[in-house]
C-alpha cells in the first residue's frame, strides 16, 4: 500500500513537472506591418505569411519545445503610429524581437526605439539606409535596391545598350531607386539621357513618355509599385514605343500582368526567385524553401505567395534559427542572427556579419520577362 501511494505521488509529481514544462510561457515575437493604407499590398501578405509560419512552427512543436506567440499591429504606413506601436511591443508586450515594418519610412522611424530598448528588429523593407551604416540591433530581409539596379544594368551592358531613360515614382520606393540608378550608372558605363518622375496617384504618364521618346534611349527603366507601372506600360503601348521597357522588382507579382494586360508583353524586370520557383534548376539552393513557402501559402490562404510575403517568411525563419541557437533573450537572438551564414530563404541566400546586416548578393535577383501572361527567365 505504502509503495502504491509513493508511486502515485511520484507519478503525480512527474505529471506536474511535465505539465509545467508544457506550460512554459510562449516566446513572444512582435510584428509591425502596414496591413491597411497605401502600403497594404506589402503589409497584408507579410502579416499572413508571418502568422502562417508561426502556426506551422507551433504545429510542429514550437522552437526547442516552446511555442511562439506572434503579436501583430497595423501601422497603416504611418511613421507616428509605427513608433507608438513599436513602443507598445517593447514596453507592454515585452517581445524578444520584432519583424517588420513593411516600409522604409516606418522602419527608419522605429529604429531609434529598438536601438534604445535593445531589441532585435528584422525589417521587411528594402531601403538601403536601414542597414547602411550598420546598426547594432537592425537587420533586414528585403533585397537592397542596388542589387536590382545592378541586375538590370548588367543585362543592358551584355546587350551593349548604354543610353537609358529613367522614370521613377515620387515615393520612398521610387526615390531610393532613382538614387541607386544614378549612382550605379557610371560603374556600368550607362548614360542616363532622361530623368523623370511621376506621382504615385497619377493616371496618365503620356507626357513623360513623349519626352522620353524624343531623348531616344536604348531602354526605359521604370521604378514604381502598382498601379503606376501598369499605366506606363499601357501608355507606352498606346504611343507605339518600340524601346525595351524594364520595371523594378516592385511590380513582381501576377497583379502587374493583370493590371497591364496585353501591354505587359515583353516587359522585363528583376525579381526575387519566388515568381519562377518551378523554372529554377534543381541545383538552386533556394528551391526547397521557395516550393515549401508557395505550397504552405496556397494551403493556408488559397492564394499565390509573392515575394513580399517572402520577406516575412525569411524574417520569421531567420528568427527561428536565431532562437534555436542563441536562446530567447534579445541579446542572444541578436548575436545568433549576426552569425547566420548561408541561410537559403525566399529573398536569397542570407549571410549576415558584423559589417553586413542585409546579407544578400546580386544573385538574389533573376531577370524575368513577361510572355503570354506569365513569367519566363531571361538568359
Amino acid at each position: 500500500m505504502k509503495k502504491l501511494v509513493s508511486t502515485a505521488f511520484a507519478s503525480l509529481a512527474l505529471f506536474c513537472m511535465s505539465t509545467a514544462a508544457l506550460a512554459a510561457p510562449p516566446i513572444k515575437i512582435g510584428a509591425l506591418f502596414a496591413v491597411t493604407g497605401p502600403a497594404s499590398f506589402l503589409g497584408e501578405p507579410e502579416r499572413n505569411t508571418a502568422q502562417m509560419v508561426v502556426d506551422e512552427i507551433n504545429k510542429a512543436g514550437g522552437v526547442k519545445g516552446r511555442k511562439l506567440e506572434l503579436i501583430t499591429y497595423d501601422t497603416g504606413g504611418d511613421a507616428t503610429k509605427a513608433v507608438q506601436l513599436a513602443n507598445k511591443l517593447v514596453k507592454n508586450d515585452q517581445v524578444v524581437a520584432i519583424i517588420g515594418p513593411s516600409t522604409t519610412g516606418d522602419t527608419m522611424a522605429v529604429i531609434p526605439v529598438v536601438e534604445k530598448a535593445q531589441v532585435p528588429l528584422i525589417s521587411c523593407s528594402a531601403g538601403i539606409k536601414i542597414t547602411e551604416p550598420v546598426k547594432k540591433w537592425v537587420f533586414k530581409t528585403a533585397q537592397n535596391d542596388t542589387l536590382a539596379v545592378a541586375r538590370i544594368y548588367e543585362q543592358l551592358k551584355k546587350e551593349k545598350k548604354s543610353k537609358v531613360a529613367i522614370l521613377t515614382v515620387s515615393d520612398s520606393f521610387g526615390s531610393s531607386g532613382r538614387e541607386q540608378l544614378k549612382a550605379l550608372a557610371k560603374h556600368f558605363g550607362i548614360q542616363i539621357v532622361s530623368d523623370d518622375t511621376y506621382g504615385p496617384k497619377d493616371t496618365d504618364m503620356t507626357p513623360q513618355l513623349t519626352k522620353i521618346k524624343s531623348a531616344k534611349p536604348d531602354a526605359i527603366i521604370c521604378w514604381g509599385t502598382n498601379p503606376g507601372p501598369a499605366v506606363i506600360a499601357r501608355n507606352a503601348k498606346q504611343l507605339g514605343l518600340a524601346i525595351p521597357l524594364y520595371m523594378s522588382h516592385g511590380v513582381s507579382s501576377k497583379k502587374f500582368i493583370e493590371l497591364a494586360g496585353d501591354a505587359a508583353e515583353g516587359i522585363r524586370l528583376p525579381s526575387g526567385k519566388v515568381l519562377v520557383a518551378d523554372l529554377l534548376p534543381k541545383s538552386d539552393k533556394q528551391k526547397g524553401s521557395l516550393l515549401a513557402f508557395i505550397k504552405d501559402y496556397q494551403n493556408h490562404y488559397r492564394a499565390e505567395g509573392d515575394h513580399f510575403g517572402g520577406h516575412a517568411w525569411d524574417a520569421m525563419m531567420l528568427l527561428k534559427g536565431a532562437i534555436e541557437r542563441g536562446g530567447d533573450t534579445p541579446a542572444g537572438i541578436r548575436n545568433a542572427l549576426e552569425a547566420t551564414r548561408n541561410f537559403a530563404g525566399i529573398g536569397g541566400v542570407f549571410s549576415y556579419s558584423a559589417k553586413d546586416h542585409a546579407g544578400l548578393t546580386k544573385d538574389a535577383f533573376t531577370l524575368v520577362e513577361v510572355r503570354k501572361k506569365d513569367w519566363v527567365l531571361v538568359k
Binding site: A79, V83, N87, N92, M108, I111, P112, G127, S172, S175
Partner: protein
C-alpha cells in the same frame, strides 16, 4: 473667471500627475502625442470654432515646423532651441503673408485654398530630396536638451510637450475671454455686423490664422525632436482632416474640447485594437454616432449624457413612491 482658473489648475494637476501610475510604460508615449495633437486641434479650434474660418491645411504648418527644425538641426547644425524659434518666426511671417489673400475667401473656397496649401507643402517635403530626404524621410534629428538634461525618454518628453501644451492652453483661455476673443466670436456670428461695430475683421482673421499656424509649427518642432525621424506621410491631407475631426468631436469653440477630442482620437484606435481587423469599422461607427448624437461635441455631449441618465433615475424613484 475664478472658476476658470480653478478648472485650469485642476486640469494642469491631472496632466502633471498622470504619468506617475503609468510608470513610463507605453501609454506615456501615446500621451505625448495626445499633447501634440491637442495643441494642433486647439490651434484649429481658435480659427474654426471661434472665428469661424475653416482650414484644411493645418498639417502643412505642423510639417513646416517639423521639417524646419529637422533640416536646420541636421543639415545646418543649428541648436534645436534656436531652430525652433527661427522656424516659429518664419512660419509666422509666412502665415501672415498667406493669410491676407487666402482669408478673403469664404466657406468652401477657403477650405479649397487651405487644402491647396496643404497639398503644396506635402509635395515640397516629398520633392526637395536633397534637403528633406524626400519620401524616405529625415533621420538622425537630435533630442532637445537643457544643459545636461537631454529629453531622451518618454517621461521627459511627456513633461516637455505638456509644458508647452499647458502654456498654450493658458494662452488660449486668456485670449478667448479677452476683447480679441469676443471680437472673433462676433466675426463668427456675422462678419458684417462685426465690421459695423468697428472690429477690424480682416486683420483679426489673419492674426488668428497666424497664431494657429505658429502653434502648429512649434508642435511640429517638438514632434521632430521627440520622434528623431520625420517623413512626409505624417503631414499629409489625411492628417489635416484628422485634426479637424478632433476639433469637431471635441467641441467647436471650446479650449478643453480640443484636448478632449485629441485624447479620444489618439487613444481610441489603441483601445480598439482588440477588434483586430474590424477596428476601422468600429472606429468609423463610433465617430458617426458621436457626430449624430453629440452635435456640440464631447464637451457638451458628456454633460448632456450625464443629465440624461440622472433624471431618469430620479424619475423611477418618484414613480415607485
Amino acid at each position: 473667471m475664478r472658476s476658470d482658473r480653478i478648472k485650469f489648475i485642476v486640469f494642469a494637476l491631472v496632466v502633471l500627475l498622470l504619468p506617475l501610475p503609468l510608470s513610463g510604460g507605453y501609454l506615456t508615449n501615446v500621451l505625448i502625442f495626445v499633447g501634440i495633437n491637442g495643441v494642433l486641434a486647439l490651434g484649429l479650434n481658435l480659427l474654426l470654432g471661434y472665428a469661424g474660418q475653416i482650414s484644411l491645411g493645418q498639417a502643412a504648418f505642423f510639417g513646416l515646423g517639423a521639417y524646419g527644425s529637422g533640416v536646420l538641426t541636421t543639415q545646418f547644425g543649428f541648436n534645436p532651441w534656436v531652430a525652433m524659434v527661427v522656424v516659429a518666426l518664419s512660419v509666422a511671417v509666412f502665415a501672415f503673408a498667406l493669410g491676407f489673400p487666402v482669408l478673403r475667401l469664404k466657406g468652401h473656397y477657403l477650405a479649397m485654398a487651405t487644402l491647396g496649401v496643404g497639398v503644396i507643402a506635402n509635395i515640397a517635403f516629398n520633392e526637395t530630396v536633397d534637403l528633406t530626404g524626400g519620401p524616405s524621410g529625415l533621420s538622425g534629428i537630435p533630442n532637445l536638451a537643457i544643459g545636461t538634461l537631454t529629453f531622451d525618454s518618454d517621461l521627459k518628453n511627456y513633461y516637455l510637450v505638456w509644458c508647452f501644451a499647458l502654456g498654450m492652453i493658458l494662452l488660449s483661455l486668456n485670449l478667448v475671454n479677452s476683447r480679441f476673443g469676443r471680437a472673433l466670436r462676433a466675426i463668427h456670428d456675422s462678419e458684417v455686423a462685426a465690421r459695423v461695430m468697428g472690429v477690424n475683421a480682416r486683420l483679426m482673421k489673419v492674426q488668428v490664422f497666424t497664431l494657429s499656424a505658429v502653434m502648429s509649427a512649434i508642435m511640429g518642432s517638438l514632434y521632430c525632436h521627440v520622434m528623431t525621424f520625420i517623413s512626409p506621410t505624417s503631414f499629409g491631407f489625411s492628417f489635416s482632416v484628422e485634426i479637424l475631426t478632433m476639433v469637431v468631436i471635441g467641441g467647436l469653440g471650446s479650449v478643453y474640447g480640443s484636448i478632449l477630442g485629441a485624447l479620444l482620437l489618439t487613444l481610441l484606435p489603441e483601445m480598439l485594437r482588440t477588434f483586430q481587423d474590424y477596428d476601422i469599422i468600429v472606429y468609423g461607427l463610433l465617430l458617426v454616432t458621436m457626430t449624430i448624437y453629440m452635435p456640440g461635441g464631447l464637451v457638451e455631449g458628456i454633460p448632456a449624457l450625464f443629465r440624461l441618465i440622472m433624471p431618469t433615475k430620479k424619475g423611477t424613484e418618484v414613480g415607485n413612491a
